[in-house]
């Protein structure tokens, strides 16, 4: 019998690792992977809540389905953008791209 808190703490740590990856990695693909980690941390949370709090209605699971779907869309678009940038700039390093300026 695993307490709910364990899942929460585990997903929190996982999410934090994802944050670190997003903030610190240069390679855009690694940044995307880190985003995926964050996504999955959230999903673990949903799943745990679903199992512990609303086991009958399965709200958390359904949220996870939607989250996975939009996550898939996100990674597709994200990779497409990385490809696009790579074509224009010959780099996938995030800190070499600063087009988001005033």
């Amino acid at each position: 019998m695993v307490p709910l808190q364990y899942y929460i703490i585990m997903s929190a740590i996982l999410f934090t690792i994802g944050i670190y990856g997003v903030l610190a990695r240069r390679n855009a693909i690694l940044v995307l992977l880190s985003v995926e980690i964050m996504f999955n941390a959230v999903n673990i949370n949903f799943m745990a809540f679903s199992a512990y709090i609303t086991p009958a209605t399965m709200v958390g699971q359904i949220y996870t389905i939607f989250a996975v779907a939009s996550g898939a869309a996100e990674i597709g678009i994200g990779l497409a953008i990385i490809l696009l940038i790579y074509r224009g700039r010959e780099t996938v390093n995030v800190d070499e791209v600063n087009m988001l300026k005033w």
Binding site: V2, I17, R25, L33, Y52, I53, P55, L79, L83, D95
Partner: protein, 168 residues
């Protein structure tokens, strides 16, 4: 110490160390493979939570589709970090700050979430997940979001094609 708990600890250890490896390694290829592993372990966690359907989905989408896509992306772009991991930095300059920020975040989240009293259901977590019931719920209560998410996926599909297409 039940088997479940033991399994949880083991899975957690693998997931977290895998994630750490992803954000630490200098070799991107290794990171991708570790990603595959991590995602599979998360699927196992879902199984631990009696959500077999979701576990399958997790393996299919994350461990399969996403990882494959990332590998393709890696092949199409030329990374500056060499396979041996030497040479050009894979982390940016705000690495230390990022670490502190992430640690702070973790502290806040744990400080806020852990003391919470969750309204845990009596039946939890023993109720077996029922795919049929889940399908009924999705196609009854959540039909509109479901349709919307399919449109979003379609839009993303088209968007990816448009974005990634080489201009003539």
């Amino acid at each position: 110490m039940s088997g479940q708990l033991l399994a949880f600890w083991a899975l957690s250890f693998v997931i977290l160390s895998g994630a750490l490896y992803i954000v630490m390694t200098k070799n991107i290829m290794h990171a991708v493979f570790m990603h595959l592993l991590t995602m599979s372990m998360i699927a196992a966690v879902y199984g631990l939570l009696h959500a077999d359907f979701m576990a399958a989905m997790q393996v299919l989408i994350y461990a399969g589709a996403v990882t494959a896509m990332v590998v393709f992306a890696l092949m199409l772009t030329k990374s500056q970090s060499r396979p041996d991991g030497a040479g050009i930095a894979v982390d940016n300059q705000q690495r230390g700050a990022s670490f502190l920020t992430a640690a702070g975040f973790l502290a806040v989240v744990i400080y806020v979430l852990v003391p919470q009293k969750w309204a845990v259901h009596e039946a939890a977590p023993v109720v077996k997940s029922d795919v049929a019931a889940m399908g009924a719920i999705i196609f009854k209560s959540y039909i509109l979001p479901f349709e919307v998410i399919s449109v979003i996926l379609l839009a993303a599909l088209i968007g990816v094609i448009v974005l990634a297409r080489k201009e003539d």
